[in-house]
Symmetry: C2
Subunit: 260 residues, 2 copies
Amino acid sequence: MFRQEITMYQHEVKSLYRYKLIIEYDGTSFAGWQAQKNGLAIQTAIENALHLACQEKIRIHGAGRTDAGVHAFGQVAHCDVSKEWDPHRLAMAINFYIRERPIRIIKTIKMDPDFHARFSAKSRSYLYRILNRAAPPGLDINKVWHVPQKLNIELMQEAANLLVGIHDFSTFRAKGCQARSPVRQLISLLIEKQDDEIHFKFHAPSFLYHQVRNFVGTLSMVGQEKWSVQDFKTAFDAKSREKGGPTAPPEGLYFTKVHY
Amino acid sequence: MFRQEITMYQHEVKSLYRYKLIIEYDGTSFAGWQAQKNGLAIQTAIENALHLACQEKIRIHGAGRTDAGVHAFGQVAHCDVSKEWDPHRLAMAINFYIRERPIRIIKTIKMDPDFHARFSAKSRSYLYRILNRAAPPGLDINKVWHVPQKLNIELMQEAANLLVGIHDFSTFRAKGCQARSPVRQLISLLIEKQDDEIHFKFHAPSFLYHQVRNFVGTLSMVGQEKWSVQDFKTAFDAKSREKGGPTAPPEGLYFTKVHY
């Protein structure tokens, strides 16, 4: 009886320690963030390493899903571990077991149990890189979208400014998007030239499925001066994906930061 | 007799057209710039593509050799082609035949026959990238040198300033260097922090064998505060490679520009 009580008591006080993981990855060789039928998911690769590091099955919960081929400097996930770890040692242990794959835990922070990587997030930042020169990439293969036609940055920024604010973004929402509403807020979209590259910096509380890639693909029509800014506005106002421009490929996209 | 004269005449006027190639490459999978016994050289890969594009055997002459694993944004080479090409089309043709390898001709320019990629060069620029954080790279594997110990940039810059000017650089010259003299001019060396990275920017008329990598390896001793700036100066003044610090690995090094 006494033994049983102790066992119960131990079971009850067995608490879980919640950790926030800040994650960098090269998405080229993965099926995307989330577990898929075909190909290895980034989430699964990290869970496998956590299993080896902690000797227990641990699920991780990401702040956002990234498609196959999309990269991250600052994806965030949380997980619950039954043993308390020094955060730096936990990161080192996961990095050891995942060392053969291009995924690294940049930082691990111990959190209160009410922290949730996805639901506690206030906003998210993405970067999209276009290599805008005649020659395809030699050094950044699979890391940029190569657009050989010269893009007019001023016109793209003028069109981009129309997107800032709270709008119905149906024109930029992929089929299969599971969000209930196409209305989202875009906090900012800055377009900057960096040597041969053009960088699109997005900041929003949340994004629709393929929203960033559809933004960039449609803005590239304006940059090539195939569409005027007015054409862009007409497409945006039509609230129909069919009126939008193409979807930019995944390899130029980086999940850069989650803001809490 | 008449036919023979015409043949001779044609042979004599058959001129060669000289082209300058600006080249970008990811050196990770190559044996270096120059033809080697083991592994594919970047020079050989470009010559093979030129052969296919021009239907003749063509040698290229680079502005500088890079070691196995070293990258380039702006290597320069020249070559002589018996047919006149539109420069942009020549670049496109080489890029087509080299497409399976991470090498690209960024630009091709028609030059006078006295232009020589190596001997006409006035100076050269290199970049060295250190990733200075606890976690190894996830996105830039083989593209940076990972140094987990925090580096003091101010101290490294103070030591670096001693290198600027005309000096005997024996302390930073690898065995096997074929240069007649260890005296070289260093025009500038700037050390800059860029997020988690430290960038070393070198500019000099020419460099000794492994000079940049020996500079960075030795400066990293100062950055880690294992050596004082005075220790660095003592090693420099000793004019002996044995007194210098370690050789930084090739993967952080980029040949960025040749100045003519």
